[in-house]
């Protein structure tokens, strides 16, 4: 069965890149544009792994991760943070919010797939 990935990113460019990369790698992809939509989509999506941006309008990545971790049903889903933020402080905040791992931009398909493989069985 195809693994399902939920991606949350406000940039149309990055969303498209994620979509192409993930589809090519044989994943089923569901997309949301910000944290609020991400949490809305989560319920029906039942993803195997989540990839999220940090800087987003309405609800940022930190808030989104916390939201997922509070959700009784999905709190154990691995969440990868996709971000250009490199300083340790941001990464730490993401970890404290409950991120499983991270992928540092610039966007690199190989890195993305590798990270997803690492956190999924």
């Amino acid at each position: 069965m195809k693994k399902k990935v939920l991606t949350v990113d406000d940039s149309r460019t990055i969303r498209n890149m994620l979509l192409v990369t993930l589809n090519n790698a044989g994943f089923e992809t569901i997309q949301a544009e910000d944290g609020v939509e991400g949490l809305e989509v989560l319920e029906g999506a039942n993803p195997d792994v989540i990839v999220t941006d940090i800087n987003m309008p309405r609800l940022d990545g930190f808030g989104f991760i916390e939201g997922v971790r509070r959700n009784e049903k999905y709190r154990a889903v691995p969440i990868l943070v996709l971000t250009t933020e490199s300083d340790a402080e941001k990464k730490n905040r993401a970890r404290q919010a409950g991120a499983t791992g991270w992928i540092v931009k610039p966007f690199d398909p190989a890195k993305l797939i590798d990270a997803i493989e690492r956190v999924t069985a």
Partner: protein, 755 residues
């Protein structure tokens, strides 16, 4: 979708982000301190940087990075966004836009300018760093970050340097050749699992870099009744033989290192066996290759080992039970709360629907518009033939037709609305022009915009940018005085230009108001006399003098400046506005400034026209050009010169233009008493009376380009199809009026070519 398409999307997105960036900065400039505004500005630059990085657009990434760093200082309240700071940021936004364009279309960027701004931005961020370090002894690492890091963002991946001791190694070379053995002790904490990491997956990854022997320590496992399903009770000792380094091994635990106790030690080959601390418990990773079958769960130790936490299965079962319970409870409650739920769902749906957009190829919209145009014509033809054939006049067909007409009109309006866009992007571009030109001429000018959300057809917007740019340049260069002069005149040294858009009776009205010196009528008049535009003794009203600036070949600037004197005058502006079916006028008060008013149609696809007959031909005259219509009386017609005639209307004389003669429909003069005069406003503000034979009626017509299918016809703007299926030509009023002044109808004279 391939990378090129995504790149195209990226550039589209850049444009949006740049607009967002500029409007955000302008808001900050106006004193807005909403953190969300700062965030939006930051996000815009951040997004551009992110996308640019993916496409390897290094220049763009480098500049965006510096910009972002400075913006981050503002975002974290370490830098006060003062006017001076925002000035630098607005300029940076301009350079960012230039870099984006250069990345898309090639071409070059003013490198000196961008380098200068990089320095200024860094200075802002670093100046801030000094302040920060004065407050707190710890220096801000962000500000101190070298810019050079940006072109190679992979370097800033943020991987923590890991202390690495060579002492424990023998010879590196040997190690690489034969592989080293490492003793790894791994004890996950419960946080590791709560963050979605999985001990078994880490062990699997470890097994992929070398030969492993994994031993699980179950000592901490309590009795079942005292077990916390989410606690972590296991730890592992792994012996790994690999050619990889300790760094590589630690990299496996990259995501987990905060949430586990991890020790990695290189061991001497000889001492391995003795150092194994406990009795090996075989730990099988093969189960990970497939989803564990339910049957395997009967083997508790193994299942527990797989999941890493002893009670994982119990937990999952419990969770599933809870979910089931919830579901059944929900089902029971469903009926009583059905209405509420439906309402809630509706609210959610409405919330989701708000602000949703789709992107549609412009060609598709245009095709739709064309088809609707055909539908309008078809509907008109149908109506006409029903009216002609229906003698009773009361049939239900008529009523149906009326409804059809209304529906058609509504469809047409809706389709036009698809093409409608706010004027905001054009207005935003103007603020950059004001900034740049004001900088160049050493003036201080504020641009105030109003009604940016007023919508108008996309074509109108696209074609509006150029004349508007020119007018803004003019206003900055000539309209607003220097700060010294303004102060001397008792005005605010900072000039104001106000750009407004609003809807007014089915058209869009754009006003450009400056609080400058106003038109210098003496000088304008002198110039017009010097340029042979008017006779030296001409007696002109103030309004007529003001409108002279629109005359071809007129320029008031004493010296041709870099900015507005590009050999293009206001006549060109007027022509482009007219080409859009619009009108422009000026009013000016000496010492107080000038106001340019442009009135434009909302769409270029349809036109309200007066259908008239000239020498047996049916013509359409754009309604916007017509001031009034009248039936000439013999007493009002006066001959003038060889074959010129004037008509007197309310004590003023107005030249009579015989449309049939100008268009060569007939050779002899028509008798004015047998026709109708259409009083039209023409170029230069003067009025002319167009002679036509009869008025058929007033109706909305769909504009069909002549040029696209045939070629440009002087005096004719476009064509349309009438209700009876016949083609009618749309008159180019200004070209006809110009021709009546003795200029022959030449293609370049034609102004109102619409498409």
């Amino acid at each position: 979708m391939d990378m090129n398409e995504i790149k195209e999307i990226f550039f589209q997105e850049c444009e949006e982000q740049l607009a967002e960036l500029e409007s955000g900065l302008l808001k900050l400039n106006d004193g807005d301190r909403d953190p969300e505004t700062v965030n939006a500005v930051f996000r815009a630059v951040h997004s551009i940087k992110g996308g640019a990085g993916a496409f390897g657009l290094d220049d763009l990434v480098a500049f965006a990075h510096v910009f972002e760093t400075t913006l981050d200082c503002v975002r974290s309240n370490r830098l006060e966004p003062t006017q001076d700071v925002l000035k630098v940021m607005l300029k940076s936004a301009d350079v960012l836009a230039d870099l984006t364009n250069a990345a898309r279309d090639g071409g070059c960027v003013d490198e000196a300018r961008s380098r200068g701004l990089v320095k200024e931005l860094e200075a802002l961020a670093n100046g801030e760093a000094l302040v920060a370090s004065a407050e707190a002894p710890k220096p801000t690492p962000k500000a101190a970050e070298p810019v050079q890091a940006a072109p190679a963002p992979t370097d800033e991946s943020g991987f923590q340097p890991i202390p690495f001791s060579f002492d424990s190694f023998g010879d590196d070379e040997v190690a690489a050749e034969y592989g080293d053995t490492y003793e790894i002790s791994f004890r996950p904490r419960r946080e590791l699992f709560s963050k979605g990491n999985e001990a078994a997956l880490l062990l699997r990854d470890l097994s992929r870099i070398g030969e492993v022997s994994i031993n699980c320590d179950l000592d901490a496992l309590p009795a079942l009744e005292s077990m916390d399903p989410e606690e972590s009770y296991f730890s592992w000792k792994i012996s790994l033989k690999t050619v990889k380094t300790e760094d590589d091994i630690r990299a496996v635990f990259e995501f987990a290192e905060w949430d586990c106790d991890l020790e990695v030690k290189a061991v001497e080959a000889a001492s391995q066996a003795e150092e194994l601390p406990m009795v090996p418990v075989p730990f099988d990773l093969s189960a990970l290759d497939d989803v564990p079958a339910p049957a395997e769960e009967s083997e508790p130790a193994r299942a527990a080992a797989e999941s890493g936490t002893a009670g994982e299965d119990a937990k999952m079962a419990a969770a599933a039970a809870r979910v089931e319970k919830k579901e059944s409870a929900a089902a029971a409650a469903a009926q009583t709360t059905a209405a509420a739920a439906a309402a809630a769902a509706q609210t959610t749906a409405a919330a989701a629907a708000a602000g949703q957009t789709i992107r549609v190829d412009l060609d598709r919209v245009d095709r739709l518009i064309n088809l609707v145009g055909e539908l309008v014509i078809n509907q008109a033809m149908l109506s006409q033939s029903v009216i002609e054939n229906d003698t009773t006049g009361t049939s239900s067909i008529n009523m149906g037709l009326e409804e059809l007409q209304q529906l058609t009109r509504e469809i047409q309006d809706s389709v036009m609305a698809i093409r409608a866009q706010p004027v905001k992007p054009v207005f935003q571009r103007m603020s950059r022009i004001v900034r740049e030109v004001a900088d160049m001429v050493g003036k201080s000018i504020r641009l105030v915009t109003e009604g940016e959300n007023t919508e108008v057809d996309k074509t109108v917007i696209d074609k509006l940018a150029e004349p508007l740019t020119h007018m803004i340049r003019n206003a900055v260069d000539h309209g607003i005085e220097t700060p010294e002069k303004r102060e001397a005149a008792g005005k605010d040294p900072e000039g104001t230009i106000k750009l407004t858009a609003k809807h007014r009776s089915g058209r869009i009205l754009i006003e450009l108001v400056d609080d400058g010196a106003g038109i210098n009528r003496e000088r304008v008049k002198q110039k017009a006399i010097d340029n042979d535009l008017i006779a030296p003794d001409a007696n002109l009203t103030d309004e007529e003098i003001d409108n002279l600036i629109f005359a071809p070949g007129f320029s008031t600037a004493d010296k041709i400046s870099d900015i507005s004197g590009r050999g293009v005058g206001m006549d060109v502006v007027k022509r482009s506005i007219q080409a859009l079916g619009g009108r422009i006028s000026i009013s000016s008060r000496p010492g107080q400034g000038s106001t340019f008013t442009m009135s434009l149609p909302l769409t270029l696809a349809v036109l309200d026209g007066m259908v008239v007959t000239v020498a047996g031909q049916t013509l359409v005259v754009p309604l916007t050009a017509i001031v009034e219509t009248l039936q000439p009386e013999a007493s009002a017609i006066h001959s003038f010169g060889a074959n010129q005639r004037l008509i007197s209307i309310r004590n003023s004389f107005c030249p009579l233009v015989d449309v049939g003669r100008i268009l060569n429909f007939r050779s002899a003069h028509a008798n004015p008493m047998e026709g109708v005069a259409l009083l039209v406003e023409s170029e230069g503000g003067g009025q002319r009376a167009l002679m036509v034979d009869a008025i058929q009626g007033q109706r909305q017509v769909v504009i069909k380009s002549l040029e696209a299918n045939y070629t440009h016809v002087p005096g004719i703007a476009a064509a349309t199809i009438l209700g009876d299926g016949r083609v009618a030509l749309i008159l180019d009023v200004d070209a006809v009026v110009a021709a009546s002044r003795g200029h022959s109808l030449k293609p370049e004279m034609s102004l109102a070519a619409t498409g």
